[in-house]
C-alpha cells in the first residue's frame, strides 16, 4: 500500500515535472499521447480565443469609421501601418496573452484616413499579389526589365548574337528616411551580374544642393546618363563605343553634387562629380588617380509644347596606358522636343545631337565623334526614327566608323516595346555591315519615373 502510494506519488511528480518541462521540450522531443492531448486541448482553447477576437475585430470594422475619420487631420503620406501582426503559423506559448495587434485583412493595407470615412470602401487597399501586405509596405518599389535583342545580317567587326536576352535589370527604389532616397539597379547579363547603379540621393542638403553618393552613371551628356531601356535605339551610337568606353560608358563609384543657378531666363543646373576613376574608360593605377566630371545644363520652354535642352560636359581621368597618362573628353549636347499638350499621347518629336571630343595621352590623340537622331510619334503606339552617327577611334583618330539607322518602334503598352532597327555601318577597316536589329523590352513591377 505504502509502496503503491509512493509509486503513485512518483508518477504524479514525474507527470507534473514533465508537464512543466513540456513547453520547452515540446519542439525537440516526441511527447507522450497524454501530453499531446493536453496540448491539443490548449491549442483548441487558443484557437477559440483567436476566433472570438477575430469576430470582435470584424464587428468593430463593420461599425462606420465615419465618426472618427473626417476629424482626422489630413496627413501627407500614407499612414504608418500598425505593428506587423504575428504570422498565423507562429506557435502560441501556453499562458501567453493572445496578440492584441489587429490582424491585417489578407492582401491589403489600411485605407488612408479619410477614404473610409469619406464614403469610400473600407478595410483595405489591395496590393499586387500580396497575402500579408503589411510586412511589405516598406519594401522598395521593385521592377524587372527584360531587354531581348536579336540581330540578322552580316557584321564581321562587332557581331551581336542572333538572339540574346542582353540584360535583365532589377530596380529597387524607395525613400530611405526624411532626408534621403535610394535607387539600386542590378544588371544581369550573359557576362554576369553587376551593380549598374546603386546610390543614395540627398535632395534637401542646405545650400540648395542635390547630392548623390554611390555607383552611378556620370552626368556626361545625354546617352551616358540613360539606361538602355529608355534609349530610342536598340544599340548605342558609335561615339559611346569608341570614345566613352562602350555601352556602359562613364559609370563609376563616386560623389555627385549639383546646384540650380536660379535666374529669370532659363533653367540652369551645374553638376560636379568625383569618381574613383575605374570604369570602362578610365583606369585608376593608384588611389589618387580619380576621375572628374563636370556638366552645365540649360533648359527653356519655347512654347508650352516645345522646349530646348542644351548642355556641355567634361570628363577627366587616367587611362589604361599608365599612371602618367590621362584622357579628357569634352561633350556638347542639344535636344529639341515637341509634344502638343492636347495630343500628348499621340504626337511627339524629339531631335537630339551630341558631339564628343576625346584627347588621349600619350600621343595627344584628338578624336571626334557625333550623332544626330530624330524620333517621331505618329500614332498612339507607333514611333519612327532615324539616326546618323560617326566616330573616330580614341586610340587611333585616323580610323573612323560611320553608321546610319532607320527605326520603327511599337508600344503595346507603357510596359512593353518592340523595336526594329535597320543599320548600315561602314567600319574604318573598309568593311560594310548591313544588319537588322530587333528588340523586345518588357517591364514588370513598379519602376520609378525617369528624369527628363
Amino acid at each position: 500500500m505504502l509502496q503503491s502510494f509512493r509509486v503513485n506519488q512518483v508518477i504524479r511528480l514525474f507527470v507534473a515535472a514533465l508537464c512543466l518541462a513540456m513547453p520547452a521540450s515540446a519542439q525537440s522531443q516526441a511527447p507522450s499521447s497524454q501530453t499531446t492531448a493536453d496540448l491539443r486541448a490548449e491549442l483548441e482553447r487558443l484557437q477559440q480565443a483567436v476566433k472570438a477576437l477575430e469576430e470582435k475585430v470584424a464587428a468593430l470594422e463593420q461599425q462606420p469609421a465615419a465618426a472618427a475619420a473626417p476629424t482626422t487631420p489630413p496627413v501627407a503620406v500614407l499612414p504608418t501601418p500598425p505593428a506587423v501582426a504575428a504570422p498565423p503559423t507562429a506557435p502560441a506559448a501556453p499562458g501567453a496573452e493572445p496578440p492584441t495587434v489587429q490582424q491585417p485583412p489578407a492582401g491589403g493595407v489600411a485605407v488612408p484616413p479619410g477614404a473610409a470615412g469619406a464614403g469610400g470602401p473600407e478595410g483595405s487597399l489591395p496590393v499586387y499579389g500580396s497575402t500579408s501586405a503589411l510586412s511589405k509596405i516598406f519594401n522598395p518599389d521593385m521592377a524587372v526589365i527584360g531587354n531581348f535583342v536579336g540581330a540578322a545580317g552580316r557584321n564581321d567587326v562587332a557581331p551581336l548574337p542572333a538572339l540574346r536576352l542582353q540584360e535583365a535589370e532589377a530596380s529597387f527604389q524607395a525613400i530611405v528616411d526624411p532626408y534621403a532616397r535610394a535607387d539600386f539597379f542590378l544588371s544581369a547579363s550573359p557576362e554576369g551580374l553587376e551593380i549598374e547603379e546603386g546610390f543614395i540621393t540627398f535632395p534637401t542638403v542646405p545650400g540648395g544642393l542635390l547630392v548623390k553618393v554611390g555607383k552611378m552613371k556620370a552626368q556626361f551628356g545625354k546617352v551616358n546618363t540613360q539606361h538602355s531601356h529608355v534609349l530610342p535605339w536598340v544599340d548605342v551610337p558609335l561615339p559611346m563605343a569608341n570614345l566613352l568606353g562602350g555601352e556602359e560608358g562613364l559609370n563609376d563609384s563616386g560623389l555627385s553634387v549639383s546646384k540650380l543657378i536660379l535666374n529669370p531666363v532659363l533653367f540652369l543646373e551645374a553638376t560636379g562629380e568625383i569618381y574613383q576613376g575605374n570604369d570602362h574608360l578610365f583606369t585608376s593605377h593608384k588611389r589618387g588617380n580619380l576621375a572628374y566630371v563636370g556638366r552645365l545644363r540649360g533648359y527653356r520652354d519655347i512654347t508650352e509644347g516645345t522646349n530646348l535642352d542644351v548642355g556641355t560636359s567634361i570628363a577627366y581621368g587616367h587611362n589604361d596606358v599608365g599612371p602618367g597618362f590621362t584622357t579628357t573628353i569634352y561633350g556638347l549636347d542639344a535636344t529639341v522636343r515637341y509634344r502638343p499638350l492636347r495630343r500628348a499621347i499621340y504626337r511627339r518629336f524629339i531631335g537630339r545631337t551630341e558631339l564628343f571630343w576625346s584627347r588621349r595621352q600619350p600621343e595627344q590623340a584628338n578624336a571626334f565623334g557625333a550623332y544626330v537622331s530624330g524620333e517621331y510619334q505618329f500614332a498612339q503606339r507607333w514611333f519612327a526614327g532615324a539616326r546618323y552617327d560617326f566616330s573616330d577611334r580614341a586610340a587611333d583618330p585616323l580610323l573612323q566608323d560611320k553608321s546610319g539607322s532607320l527605326l520603327l518602334t511599337y508600344w503595346p503598352s507603357e510596359f512593353s516595346q518592340v523595336r526594329g532597327q535597320l543599320r548600315r555601318t561602314r567600319y574604318a577597316e573598309g568593311v560594310d555591315a548591313n544588319e537588322l536589329l530587333f528588340q523586345f523590352l518588357f517591364s514588370i513591377g513598379a519602376h520609378g519615373a525617369h528624369v527628363f
Binding site: 488612408p112 484616413p113 469610400g120 535632395p203 542635390l210 499621347i345
Partner: protein
C-alpha cells in the same frame, strides 16, 4: 578687369533674382488646375498659386520638364491629386526640386485625396492585365462637389497651419466657398434630375464621381481597358451594347482622339460630347464652378439634341 566687372554684374544679377523671389506671400504649387482653382477659392490673393499640368492635358502623361523643377524649387506648399495620378512624372521633379518643404511627408506636401471620397477601389488581386489600373482607387475624384468641399477643407487646414496669420481669412473664405458650392450643387442637381439613371459611355474612366453625383449610369468605355487604346473588336461589342440599351451619349476628354468615338457614334446614332474633365479643359472653364456649369450645360444640350431622355 573688364571680365571681372562683367562677372561681378552677372553674379549680382543672379543674387538679385534670388532675392526678388524671396517675397512674403505663401507660394502654392498645385499639380492640376482644379486644385489650383480650389486653392484660389480658399486663399484668394493671400497666396501665389500656379499649377503644373494644364486642364486640357492628360494628367497621367505630363512631361517632367525642368521648368517645373524651378516652380517647385520656390514652393512653400505642393498640393497633389494623389492616388498615383502623377506617379509617372511628379516623383523625379520633387527629388530634383532641392526644396525640403515639399518632400513627401514634409509639412508643405498635401495629398488632396486623403480626405476625398474615392471610388473604384479595386478589390481582390489586380494585375496589369487589367490595363493601367490605379491600385489606390480612381484618381479622377475632383468632379464631385462634395469632394470639392473636402479638398477645400484640407487646403484650408494646411494653409492655416503654414500661415497662421491669415487663418481667419482662410476659414472665412472656405466657409463662403462651401455656401456657394451648396447653392450651386442644388442648381446642378435640379438641372440633372430628369436624367437620373441615364446610360452613357465614356472614353476613359475619368468620370466616376461625376456620374455618381448626378446619377448617370456609365455602361461602357471606348477604351477596352484603362490606358489601352480602342480596338475594333471592343468597339463592335460596345456598339452592340449601346444599340441594345439605346445609349446616345459618348463623353470624351479633350485630350483623346475623337476618331473612334465618332465612328461609334455614327453607327449608333449617339452624340460625342467633349466635356472638360478639369478646370482649364476648355477656354471658358476658368474656375471650379464653371467646370460643372460647362459640363452640365453641354451634357444637357446633347441629351436634348439626341432625345436620349
Amino acid at each position: 578687369m573688364k571680365r571681372l566687372i562683367i562677372g561681378a554684374i552677372a553674379f549680382t544679377a543672379i543674387l538679385l533674382a534670388d532675392a526678388a523671389q524671396a517675397r512674403a506671400a505663401l507660394r502654392v504649387v498645385a499639380t492640376t488646375q482644379d486644385l489650383e482653382a480650389i486653392v484660389k477659392e480658399v486663399a484668394g490673393d493671400k497666396v501665389e498659386t500656379e499649377s503644373l499640368a494644364k486642364g486640357y492635358q492628360d494628367p497621367h502623361f505630363v512631361e517632367a520638364k525642368p521648368s517645373f523643377i524651378l516652380r517647385l524649387n520656390k514652393a512653400d506648399l505642393l498640393v497633389v491629386v494623389g492616388r498615383e495620378l502623377e506617379i509617372g512624372w511628379l516623383p523625379p521633379l520633387i527629388t530634383q526640386s532641392r526644396n525640403q518643404k515639399i518632400q513627401p511627408g514634409a509639412q508643405g506636401y498635401l495629398d488632396a485625396s486623403l480626405t476625398a471620397k474615392i471610388l473604384d477601389l479595386p478589390t481582390g488581386q489586380i494585375t496589369r492585365a487589367m490595363g493601367d489600373v490605379h491600385p489606390q482607387g480612381n484618381p479622377h475624384y475632383w468632379l464631385d462637389a462634395d469632394n470639392g468641399r473636402r479638398i477645400a477643407k484640407a487646403i484650408q487646414a494646411k494653409l492655416s497651419e503654414l500661415d497662421g496669420g491669415n487663418a481667419a481669412v482662410y476659414a472665412q473664405r472656405e466657409a463662403d466657398f462651401e455656401r456657394r458650392i451648396a447653392d450651386a450643387e442644388q442648381r446642378w442637381k435640379t438641372t440633372m434630375a430628369p436624367y437620373k439613371g441615364l446610360k452613357v459611355v465614356t472614353y476613359h474612366r475619368s468620370w466616376p464621381n461625376f456620374a455618381d453625383e448626378f446619377g448617370l449610369d456609365v455602361m461602357g468605355y471606348v477604351e477596352p481597358k484603362p490606358g489601352i487604346p480602342p480596338s475594333p473588336s471592343h468597339s463592335l461589342e460596345l456598339i452592340q451594347e449601346m444599340k441594345k440599351d439605346n445609349v446616345k451619349i459618348i463623353i470624351v476628354e479633350p485630350y483623346f482622339d475623337p476618331k473612334t468615338p465618332n465612328s461609334i457614334a455614327a453607327q449608333t446614332g449617339a452624340q460625342v460630347v467633349t466635356l472638360a474633365p478639369s478646370v482649364g479643359g476648355e477656354k471658358e472653364v476658368t474656375d471650379y464652378f464653371k467646370l460643372f456649369d460647362y459640363d452640365i450645360g453641354k451634357l444637357v444640350a446633347a441629351i436634348k439634341a439626341t432625345e436620349a431622355r
